[in-house]
Structures are given as structure tokens and as C-alpha cells.
């Protein structure tokens, strides 16, 4: 068995396969909860896994690798300061995660490991294997991963990728980590045939043909990078923002966090980090009251500068959007990426005279 192998996992073996995996690590997978909602959660038995689900709005990759609230260490004051660093995390497999979220996890892994390695993220990501599931069709009309090079299937970057072929899964091994969990379970896997690969290709083309939302992000990258979008446009966009921060909290790529010292009943304190959002006014407000980003517009501008500027693409290796469509589903005032990109393109037509050169920054 090698990295790059394309194998077959028959559906009647799926249960045994994951029972055997569960002996090694806990399984996080889509599961029926709350009046029929399917959300990612710890599963007690692999039979609970819901294989035909759409899309979890709460990004599973980010949630289990960079939790919403994460205790860093606790300390106690006394004669000395006693510091207790949070214990190690269990090994886990995230099963059924979508391609967009896998791409986002790879983005965050890169961000949290360069140039300085974040110890908490590293421990979690070292202990996590991703079993991604190809979208046979776009789960939602809001999905636009196809515009962001992040789905609906992956060519690389996955540990194990599963494609539903009816009575079987195509089982692709994409990394050493994926190989490590596959080799001990060789008896459940078999070789794939040319028909299987052809069927997979048919599914790819079919899925590609069904996308409805488009982001045309490349155009926005040029305008945002060269800072050509007039401030009036940002202020107009920002004027509708509710500051709910759903866009950044649900974004599988966003990494910003804040740090708090939480008092415990026993007199000690826990330093914990939790997701923060650049859309809050307090994100940059200093103790003196001075705020370098004082307006709604400047904060919306900030969010899109981080998502779609060439400066950040140079740092992070790709633009900060995987096209999962969560901001589209969650923002009440259409400050999602495809809409903003569309409005920037229109605004550039309305505000800027035709003599301006969008490629000025290239010279």
C-alpha cells in the first residue's frame, strides 16, 4: 500500500472498518441531532454516521482543531506562581469532512506553523486524521468551492478521500497519515477497477456542472491588492453590517482569537483563547481609546483585505476563501464574499474613471 493508491471500500465493510479505527482514536462525524439536524459530533458507534448529509454550518475542521474556546493553561497565585499547561488531546479522525473544509484545515495548519509554531494547534493537528467525503453534487446553492480551487473533490491535500460510488466508496490515500490508518485495515480494502475510476470521473464532471454561485475572486484580488477600491465603497458596504461576526466565526479559514483569564471557583485562573472577529470595533481599540479602524467600512475593508489581497496570498500560499458558502448562508446583509466581490466590480465601474489601470501594482 502506498500514498496515492486508489482502493475500494465496500459499503458493507464500512461499519467494520470504522469500528476497527475507533479502537485507535475517537471518531468525529456527521450525526443526527436536534430534531433531525445533522451536525459533526463525537460518535459512539460508526453506525451513527450519516453519510448522506449536506453541509455542516459550524466548520468541523476549525471546530476540532482550533476550538471555539480552548484552555491554554491554568495558574494559581501563592508563594510561587504554579502554572499547569492543558493536557494532551486525544487522537481523532474527522470522518465525512468536505473538501472545502479540508482545504481550510491545510490553510490553518500552514498559518499556525509558520514562521512560529503554535503548540496547541500543532498537538491537535498531529493527532487528527481527515477522512474527507467528495460532494457528488453541491450540498447547497450557496457553495462556490469550484471558484476557489477547494472542491467539490480534491487532487491533493487530503489524508483519505472517499467518493460515494453507490454500493462502494472509492478510497484514495493522500498522505503518510492516511497510509498509517489504512495499512492495518487492509483486509477491508480492495483494488479498484477502471470502471470505478471512470465512474468517479463522471461524478466529478456532474458535480462541476451543477454550481450556481460564482465569486470571480481574481478580479477583486487585483482591485483590493492595489488599494483601488474607494473608501466610499467600503463605507457603503459597512453601513449595513450588524457586527454579529457570523462571517468570521463560521469561516473555516479565519484564525483570529482573543485571550482571557477566566476565574475558577477554586481561586485559580484559566487562560483561555476564543475566536475573535475583526468585524468588532473592540478588535483594534487600544486602552487609550484610539482605534486605528474606527468605522464599519474600515473593518469590512480589513476582512476582505485579509481574504483577497496579493500580500496575504504571498504569505499564506492561497487566498483566504475556500468557497464553502457559510458567509453566504449566514450574513443577513449580503456582506458575503461573492456579493462583496460583485459589488466591488460594479462600484469600480461607477466610481472610477476608465483611465485608471487596475494592474498598476504590477509595475
Amino acid at each position: 500500500m502506498n500514498v496515492g493508491d486508489k482502493l475500494i471500500l465496500k459499503k458493507n465493510n464500512v461499519s467494520d472498518f470504522f469500528y476497527s479505527l475507533q479502537e485507535q482514536m475517537q471518531l468525529i462525524a456527521p450525526k443526527q441531532r436536534f430534531a433531525g439536524d445533522v451536525v459533526f459530533d463525537l460518535v459512539n458507534s460508526p453506525d451513527e454516521i450519516v453519510w448522506e448529509y449536506g453541509h455542516d454550518i459550524y466548520p468541523p475542521g476549525k471546530r476540532y482543531l482550533f476550538p471555539h474556546y480552548e484552555d491554554m493553561f491554568s495558574y494559581r497565585q501563592g508563594e510561587q506562581i504554579a502554572i499547569d499547561v492543558a493536557a494532551d488531546v486525544p487522537r481523532q479522525a474527522i470522518v465525512g469532512i468536505r473538501s472545502c473544509d479540508v482545504t481550510a484545515v491545510r490553510f490553518q495548519e500552514r498559518f499556525f506553523s509558520s514562521p512560529i509554531v503554535d503548540p496547541f494547534y500543532k498537538t491537535r493537528s498531529d493527532n487528527t486524521v481527515l477522512f474527507s467525503l467528495v460532494c457528488n453534487e453541491p450540498p447547497k446553492k450557496d457553495c462556490f468551492c469550484i471558484c476557489c480551487d477547494a472542491g467539490p473533490y480534491l487532487e491533493s491535500g487530503f489524508d483519505v478521500q472517499l467518493t460515494d460510488l453507490g454500493d462502494r466508496f472509492l478510497y484514495e490515500i493522500g498522505s503518510e497519515k492516511g497510509l498509517d490508518v489504512s495499512e492495518p485495515r487492509e483486509k477491508y480494502l480492495e483494488a479498484s477497477t477502471e470502471q470505478d475510476i471512470a465512474e468517479r470521473k463522471r461524478i466529478e464532471l456532474h458535480a462541476d456542472s451543477l454550481f450556481q454561485t460564482a465569486s470571480y475572486i481574481a478580479k477583486a484580488i487585483i482591485y483590493i491588492t492595489s488599494d483601488e477600491v474607494p473608501d466610499e465603497v467600503w463605507e457603503e458596504l459597512g453601513s449595513t453590517c450588524f457586527r454579529c461576526a457570523a462571517c468570521t466565526n463560521l469561516c473555516p479559514i479565519c484564525t483570529c482569537y482573543t485571550v482571557d483569564d477566566r476565574p475558577e471557583p477554586d481561586g485559580s485562573f484559566t487562560r483561555c483563547r476564543s475566536w475573535d472577529s475583526c468585524q468588532y470595533a473592540g478588535f483594534t481599540r487600544e486602552a487609550s481609546g484610539h482605534n486605528p479602524r474606527p468605522t464599519f467600512g474600515s473593518r469590512v475593508k480589513r476582512r476582505f483585505y485579509h481574504k483577497a489581497s496579493f500580500q496575504y496570498i504571498m504569505r499564506d500560499g492561497r487566498h483566504g476563501c475556500v468557497g464553502c458558502g457559510r458567509c453566504v448562508s449566514s450574513c443577513l446583509t449580503k456582506l458575503d464574499l461573492p456579493s462583496v466581490v460583485k459589488r466591488i466590480r460594479r462600484a469600480m465601474h461607477d466610481y472610477i474613471e476608465p483611465i485608471s489601470k487596475p494592474t498598476a501594482f504590477l509595475e
Binding site: M72, F73, Y75, Q77, Q80, I81, I83, V85, F111, F112, P115, I116, V117, D118, P119, F120, I221, T225, D227, T255, C256, Y257, T258, V259, D260, D261, P263, F269, R271, R273, D276, C278, F283, T284, R285, E286, A287, S288, H290, P292, R293, Y305, H306, S309, F310, Q311, Y312, I313, M314, R315, F361, L362
Partner: protein, 301 residues
């Protein structure tokens, strides 16, 4: 997309030691080193200088820093705040931090007594390019508590006075009571190789010096702008007007060096609060030249 476009090169001097880059003596980036408050100096009604010594000799041995760098101070029970070094870099066994009582962390820090403990993560950030500007005339402009991150640079230059040319300090405070390091300023004014000019925004009956914002002192400065470097730190509005005045005096944009400040949490380029455009102030700043700041739309004057 063409690969010719490069992120602007940042040339704020590279320190010898940076938390997370050159090691972490506590083994975890986010775990601070305990330090004891040895002495507290009251500077102004809302400002105190804390002299700190790292408790663990292993930490103290690892800990070296350069003027312009800063630390994250954990005030246990409140949280962390970024504070710049304010003492002489030649003193290895202790260091000083000057803290204005403004928020939750600094408020609780002001209640601490000598002998109490705080946590230190650092040194963080880059530093003043003191090696690169040897042989040049130096003009320092600072306002209020903005003198704190420049004090190590001043003490370093005074200790190596023969390496530098003319040396000027312009210092402005809101009122005479708000002047930091009065004990230093008295000594510095006595020296004949260091020109110190002070001003206050609002004087009182005992004040006989200049009144007005710090940039009004620039007329009295006699320097050849072509061979001089300006270091500035202070409130954002002061930095802006000082920089514009200096450029008008003939300073080239890469000879005006400034230290920025931002709300900050992690200090290691992860939490995202201190980003100025695509640059993380905590690991690539806080010291930038005016020429570099021109590259960032967010700080364009």
C-alpha cells in the same frame, strides 16, 4: 498572477533574541516566565515604572533584549498587556517597564507592590536600528509615555556617545506633571554632548519652559538633515505631524524611524489583532521607517 510582486521588505533591525523564533525557555509559547517586582518608581500620577527580575536563573540567562523590543506582561488574575522595555540595555540582571494606568491589566498592575510577581513573555518584536545608524546625527522626538521605548535607545547612545554625531531629544508632555523620567531629564540636560528640549501642551505657574506641541521645537534644532536619522514614538497624532514636519525639513523617508502600537494579544503573530495590512506588528514590527509605512494603505499619512 505575476511573481514579480514582492511583499515589501521590512528592515527594522533584527534583534538577536525573539520569543518563539530563537527559543522559548518555558517550553510553551504561551506560558510566561515568572518575574519579581524589585522596585516601583512613581513617574506621574498615572504612570509607574516597575523594575523586574526574572525568578528562574535559567530564564534570566536566556533573556537578552535590544532597545525597541517589548514583552507581554501577565498580571495574574487580569490578563496580558504588551509593554516596551524602558531601561538601559546594558543592565542584564533586571529591566524596567513603564506602565500607564489605562485598562484592566494595567489598572491591576498599578495595585501591585514590591515583591509581587508578574509573568513575562518576551522579548518580542524588532528593535531600533542602532547599529545601522552609527556615525549619523540622531534626533529623537517623543511625546508623553512615548519616551519609554526610546529610553533604552537614549541610554545606549549615551553609553556609546563617540559612535554617534550630534544628539538631540525633543520631548513633549501634556502638563509639567505628566513628564516621565524627570530624574533622567535633569541629568541629560546637564550634558554638553546632548541637546534636550522639552515642552508641555499646557503649562502651570512653576513652568518656565516651552509651551506648545512638540513639533514647535523643531525650529530650534540645528541639524544637517542629509546626515541625520530621526527616531519617533508617541501618540499617533504626534507621530503623524512629526513625520510630516521631518520630511519637510529634508529627512528622507527611510531616515524617519517610528515605533507603532496596536492592541495586541499573543505577541507571536497568531491572534491577528496587531496586523497592519499584511504585517504582524508583534513579529515584524513595531519599529518601521516612514518609507515602509507608505507601503501599507492603513498607515498612509
Amino acid at each position: 498572477m505575476s511573481t514579480e510582486v514582492q511583499a515589501p521588505t521590512l528592515t527594522g533591525a533584527k534583534p538577536r533574541n525573539m520569543w518563539g523564533v530563537t527559543g522559548v525557555p518555558t517550553g510553551n509559547l504561551y506560558v510566561p516566565m515568572p518575574a519579581v517586582i524589585e522596585k516601583i518608581i512613581v513617574e506621574t500620577p498615572d504612570t509607574k515604572t516597575f523594575r523586574l527580575r526574572l525568578e528562574d536563573p535559567k530564564h534570566a540567562e536566556w533573556f537578552t533584549w535590544e532597545p525597541g523590543q517589548f514583552v507581554e506582561v501577565s498580571v495574574f488574575g487580569a490578563g496580558e498587556a504588551p509593554i516596551g522595555f524602558a531601561s538601559s540595555p546594558l543592565e542584564r540582571s533586571w529591566f524596567e517597564l513603564t506602565v500607564v494606568n489605562r485598562g484592566k491589566v494595567t489598572g491591576l498592575m498599578h495595585e501591585l507592590k514590591e515583591g509581587d510577581r508578574v509573568g513575562i513573555r518576551g522579548p518580542l518584536g524588532n528593535c531600533w536600528p542602532l547599529e545601522d545608524i552609527k556615525g549619523k546625527d540622531i534626533l529623537i522626538i517623543s511625546g508623553g509615555c512615548g519616551l519609554a521605548p526610546l529610553r533604552p535607545a537614549i541610554l545606549y547612545i549615551l553609553a556609546n556617545r563617540e559612535d554617534y554625531g550630534e544628539f538631540w531629544l525633543l520631548y513633549g508632555a501634556r502638563t509639567p506633571a505628566d513628564i516621565n523620567y524627570k530624574y533622567d531629564l535633569v541629568e541629560w540636560e546637564k550634558r554638553n554632548d546632548f541637546h534636550v528640549l522639552q515642552t508641555v501642551d499646557v503649562g502651570d505657574e512653576s513652568w518656565t519652559g516651552n509651551v506648545g506641541v512638540v513639533t514647535t521645537l523643531l525650529d530650534q534644532v540645528k541639524l544637517d538633515a542629509a546626515n541625520a536619522v530621526a527616531l519617533t514614538c508617541g501618540p499617533p497624532i504626534m507621530i503623524k505631524f512629526a513625520t510630516l514636519a521631518l520630511v519637510k525639513m529634508g529627512f528622507s523617508e527611510d531616515r524617519v524611524v517610528t515605533s507603532l502600537e496596536r492592541y495586541m494579544k499573543c505577541g507571536v503573530g497568531k491572534c491577528g489583532h496587531c496586523c497592519v495590512n499584511h504585517v504582524y506588528l508583534c513579529t515584524e514590527g513595531p519599529v518601521f521607517t516612514y518609507a515602509q509605512l507608505q507601503e501599507f494603505p492603513e498607515t498612509r499619512a
